[in-house]
Symmetry: C2
Subunit: 506 residues, 2 copies
């Protein structure tokens, strides 16, 4: 059927067209079917349809397909019904719990990357793999397919070090210390990070306070070879692009299927050619890992998958019930980390966690002997080599290497929350802290966030400050205060928690 | 945040808006999140976003929401982040195999009907219930919720009769005979039917050859009370609207979750107030029911659910490996059924199946004694009362009651396919017959379809016709022939199927 093009200037993230229902009927296609649109080349698009927006004889062409076809208003294209792509039929197999071959897994991942699968089909894939884990073989192929369908970095010299935190703990700014410590000791660490989706700041959001983070794979290679390490945004590259597309579907469903979690983490490490990887697995209330059993299973699965892919993986189950350090929000976190680099001044939880993990990497990379890694990491902080390396990293990424902790701009509007009574911090809700930081503007407003004066279990006096909220905008601060007052993130109680009678009258 | 409205004149079937990514960041929402759009009333919409199509300060508003808001270009609305609807959070519970309460099931069904669930969430719901059946209680609530969230018909006199075929067999035109037989015997049968989605013609597509089929619930009631029966399109009413919305998601996934299948069938029966229902369950190769065990399980589940809803259900497991009668496609099927009504002239498979099922209904409705239903049905055909009733039904629906089988217009282009050799019809592929009828134009082109001269097991001589394909358009006929030749739907073999040696030399 010959139809005239009506461009629709909206991005939908897929090759999609809109047909008038009369033409759709004539073609024998219904909503969710595909058509082949023939130009000089031939492309398959998903069909929506309408009774009145697009007249019969026309085909509405959304932005992405329009870009590809490059046809102007009322130029014609040949449209014929197309069968479902093989990848869509394979998703049905996964729904039926059939085990897929390597080729089939690759076919699905290609379908994800080239946008030929619809959101409905991707959601079915996510839901099926959430309900029933993939096998170890399938997970390995999924990971390899994610690596192979994107850009890869191939370094000439090895070993390549990497780390990953599976998230769930606020204020986890440790990469800002670990990367310079590891690179200062002569190892290569091309660290790609994410931006926060539901958090108050991912490592990429943090680093952006100091320097640009959006680079191509070849720029990452070049910069890493030059100064030993980088702290960049993974989303700026085309590394493991399937993962980003899956995350877009997982986010509204609020699920993280186990097999995909493994593949997602390991694909990014595999694509940069990592040899040795340390996983930071925060555990405890409010994190993704509620108990040690779950933490150990995840560790085993990551180590196992690493082995299949030729990577050495070590896992650190870390304390995740309280924030790391005492700040949440990009600029506040960067300032806290920078003070440690400058003068070892800062919270013990941050220094301890960073040096433990950096130490593991120094041992795995053969720089420190077994058991001596943390000491060397600590030494690298103290002697200023980590700070010097961090300045080189900032410079190579295009930031100002002369920056100091005092230069970092924090939101100008702030308010303190005070303890209502003497006592101990009885409850401390990580998720509420993050929510308040987000309402105050983080991570988009770099200066927004929360400073935590008192953590769980610490003693506090009446009218002592427990939290300070910072914001770049007055109205956002007002909203954050309102939210904090409505549902307090911190509960202070006197020592006597409950009056327990010592005897009962009979 | 105050944003200016930019209407986007496209129907997306949901309340959706497009934000510039800068505004989205500022609001702290990402793709798949919801925002509350405040006008005089306040509506929740799903967010897409864009870098360049909608400028900062504007909000792209798709058709459905635009209709509701009724705001003109650049008028402002107040936009704030909104939390996910409760129904979306409940879907996660289903993914986690948790059993839902009655209220929770109703919440989800309301979310389906009022379009507040996204396609991604609906797909997760379908996939989860496909992988793990709902419990009997949940299925009952799902059915009741589907009934209660739509229009209902309440008849003053009872019993109300109904039938349903679960589909999968081509040419199943039996409702065109059953409805007039049952109504001619004084019972009320408000038969709603579907249009074909993947078939060559649903009962609604067939009846449309004779009369309009698109009526409201109150018109259906009125017409049924007047002449005893109707043959209308269920999709024209607002009966069980949740079902239509679920089918839109099930179609691209090519699944039919068991619990939803049950609820879908029974909700439509419950909403018209049916007391006695006969289920036609075609069984065999190419149908939805591969074996007797599956057929019996489905029967038990339908009977059980009927009991919970106060309906008597009887099931007929019918032969589904060959088409019913010898025609596939709207006009051809109607002509075949009409000839039976006019003169009992027609294939035995059609007459037999129709009178058996009509007979069951006459017995259930108390018109015929146990075991005498089919005889009465046959009698009603023979004495012309069914034809007379059919004419009344056609007239009440606005068609021409003077129509005869000779008046029905068949596609003017046709071609016969001949047997290549003497022998028997060894294989007969129902799905291919339907595909060929669809390529020829069915069900949209009423005159398109296939006449089957020889069925499985029947003897055929070389050069005898086995199939005739009809089409309204020459080019569609050409495509249908090409498809038939590429992949023959019928295989003819001589009697000697394989030369079997009578002895082996040792």
């Amino acid at each position: 059927m010959q139809l005239k093009v009506q461009p629709i200037d909206i991005k939908v993230g897929k090759y999609k067209v809109v047909l008038n229902s009369i033409d759709a009927k004539e073609l024998g296609v219904i909503e969710g079917d595909r058509v082949r649109v023939r130009n000089h080349e031939s492309l398959t698009a998903i069909v929506d349809f309408t009774e009145d927006m697009i007249p019969p004889g026309m085909i509405g062409v959304y932005h992405e397909l329009q870009q590809k076809l490059n046809k102007q208003w009322t130029e014609t294209v040949e449209v014929t019904p197309a069968s479902r792509p093989k990848s869509a039929r394979l998703i049905r197999k996964i729904m039926d719990r059939q085990i897929l071959t390597k080729d089939e897994i690759y076919e699905i991942v290609r379908g994800i990357v080239d946008e030929s699968l619809s959101d409905i089909e991707l959601s079915a894939f996510i839901t099926s793999t959430y309900i029933n884990d993939l096998t170890d073989d399938e997970t390995e192929w999924l990971t390899r397919a994610m690596i192979d369908t994107g850009e890869k970095i191939e370094f000439d010299s090895h070993p390549i070090m990497d780390k990953h935190s599976i998230g769930g703990v606020p204020g986890n700014k440790i990469s800002l210390l670990i990367v310079p410590i590891v690179a200062a000791n002569g190892l290569l660490i091309p660290k790609t990070s994410s931006r926060a989706i539901t958090g108050a700041g991912g490592t990429a959001d943090l680093m952006e306070v100091l320097a640009p983070v959006d680079f191509s794979a070849s720029e990452i290679k070049e910069m890493t070879e030059k100064v030993g390490g980088v702290l960049v945004w993974g989303g700026g590259t085309n590394i493991a692009p399937a993962d980003d597309k899956l995350i877009k579907i997982e986010y509204p469903l609020k699920v993280d299927p186990h097999s995909q979690l493994l593949a997602s983490i390991m694909a990014k490490k595999g694509a940069v050619g990592a040899d040795h990887v340390v996983m930071d697995i925060p555990m405890g209330a409010g994190t993704k890992i509620p108990d040690i059993k779950t933490g150990r299973k995840l560790s085993r699965d990551l180590i196992n998958l690493g082995e299949r892919l030729g990577m050495t993986v070590e896992c650190a189950l870390t304390y995740g019930s309280s924030p790391v350090g005492r700040t949440v929000g990009p600029a506040l976190e960067v300032r806290e980390a920078f003070r440690v680099l400058e003068s070892m001044e800062g919270p013990n939880s941050l220094i301890e966690k960073s040096t433990v993990i950096a130490g593991m990497m120094l041992e795995m990379g053969g720089i420190a002997g077994k058991g001596n890694g943390q000491e060397l990491a600590m030494e690298t902080l103290k002697n200023g080599k980590a700070l010097e390396k961090m300045k080189q990293i900032i410079e190579v990424q295009g930031g100002d290497p002369g920056v100091t902790s005092a230069d970092i701009i924090i939101g100008e509007h702030s308010i303190q929350l005070f303890a209502p009574t003497n006592g101990y911090i009885l409850e401390f809700d990580n998720k509420r802290i993050v929510e308040i930081a987000r309402i105050a503007g983080a991570p988009a407003d770099k200066g927004a966030g929360v400073v935590i004066h008192k953590k769980r279990g610490e003693p506090v006096k009446k009218n002592e400050p427990v939290l300070t909220i910072y914001s770049e905008k007055k109205w956002k601060l007002d909203n954050a205060i309102k939210s904090a007052q409505l549902n307090l993130p911190i509960v202070v109680e006197g020592m006597l928690i409950e009056r327990v009678p010592t005897y009962r009258e009979l």
